[in-house]
Symmetry: C2
Subunit: 251 residues, 2 copies
């Protein structure tokens, strides 16, 4: 997809539970739609396990390539929560108890429950600023262009809300989806020709196969609404010329 210069982003999902197939990752989709609404292009997602070297390597690869990196998971109080230490190592900075984070936790957790492991949640890489957690208090943090968030979806969503106002935005991508009960191969040549005419609008073709019948969703995506509309109308024409009925869905 050829798009004008917009902020870019990567997501780094941290956790053995996704790789084992035990938990389905829903955070990627949430972040993707959040970024889409801000006009930020999500370019890459990686999932790694709870292994420090893997987290460090992935983070260092992503943070130099994209405007922003969003990580999820591994910032709780247990021994398998190693994200804060890994992020500090990736940036080559120290890590220590952050006074404001300690105060936030102390205000939320009863003194008799505020044990050493729960205090670990206040260990923040030096130079980072806190990301507010409106659900369960324990904060995330931002260091340079990296945002470190919780893995629990509801908490992660609250953190995104706190992060949003500080992000650089781009022009929002407009997408029009046209569905048809037709094999994509029937219209593939016409779609390729149309794509050649409109390089700034990405035409995606997503087939499905149900009950022995083929169908396809054709998506036109671009930052220029007038161009997207032209392409969408041309796609509808292509579908009709192939003897099928186009159904339009906008987003």
């Amino acid at each position: 997809m050829t798009l004008e210069c917009a902020p870019t982003a990567a997501v780094l999902i941290i956790g053995d539970e996704i790789l084992s197939g035990r938990t389905a990752d829903t955070n990627t989709g949430t972040i993707a739609r959040f970024l889409g609404a801000l006009g930020i292009d999500l370019k890459e997602v990686r999932v790694v396990g709870d292994v420090e070297d893997e987290i460090v390597a992935a983070l260092n690869a992503l943070r130099v390539r994209y405007t922003y990196v969003f990580t999820t998971g591994g910032i709780g109080p247990t021994h398998d929560d190693i994200t804060a230490d890994a992020v500090a190592k990736a940036f080559g900075v120290g890590i220590d108890y952050h006074p404001e984070a300690l105060a936030i936790l102390a205000a939320r957790i009863k003194p008799e429950d505020f044990n050493a492991m729960r205090r670990r949640m206040a260990r923040i890489p030096l130079g980072a600023s806190l990301v507010k957690n409106g659900v369960s208090a324990a904060p995330g943090f931002q260091i340079e262009n990296v945002f470190v968030m919780a893995g629990v979806p509801k908490i992660m969503q609250a953190m995104l809300e706190d992060i949003a106002p500080g992000l650089r935005r781009g022009r929002v991508v407009r997408a029009v989806t046209i569905s048809a009960s037709i094999g994509e191969g029937t219209i593939a040549a016409a779609l390729a020709s149309l794509q050649g005419q409109y390089p700034a609008v990405a035409i995606g073709s997503y087939p499905h196969y149900r009950d022995g019948g083929y169908g396809v969703q054709l998506v036109a995506r671009g930052r220029d609404a007038a161009e997207v509309e032209k392409v969408a109308q041309a796609v509808e024409e292509i579908v009709r010329n192939a003897g099928a009925k186009p159904t339009r869905h906008s987003s």
Copy 2:
């Protein structure tokens, strides 16, 4: 997680539709569980868009690190299906119409529908062998340690079935999950101590937060069933000592 030498794997999901948040990826979870049943450790997942250089770079990073790489998406007949070309480029080999693939497609598609774009689905990197598609005929392929599969979940699952018999297997990881209505911070120190005693069993702590109450799922994973059972019993004891009731789920 410290585990004895087992085959390893990575997944490379190819497609703008995942990065835009339009489509939720379910293939990762399917592949993760498929590999788990064969005793193969899934170590990393990457999602990249329909961009040749991105696919080539990710594939070349993953294929030298892991026993196997499984890709999904981008092998259909339309202009945005560029995976086969990208894989050929990653391996530095040519690509051409594969006689067996052409025969498979010709047997399935009516002659009047077997146009140039549908023929593209028979273009296979030189040296690759075909992966059978029991659903819609158009094959995937294997080149060295890389398996290239369709993105449509039902078709991808059929391809996994074809691939399974040829894979090297490891000892299957046994997992026991214990859930409890307790904040994980309450038992974090005891869990860390237990993890220190049993380095070959990974103890994962996955909190959730619903209706204002905390809960946690504690997962013991390892290849030695007797060790996993010892750890599971110790986890149950830790939960009971904290005044909560452990509920066991095996898998």
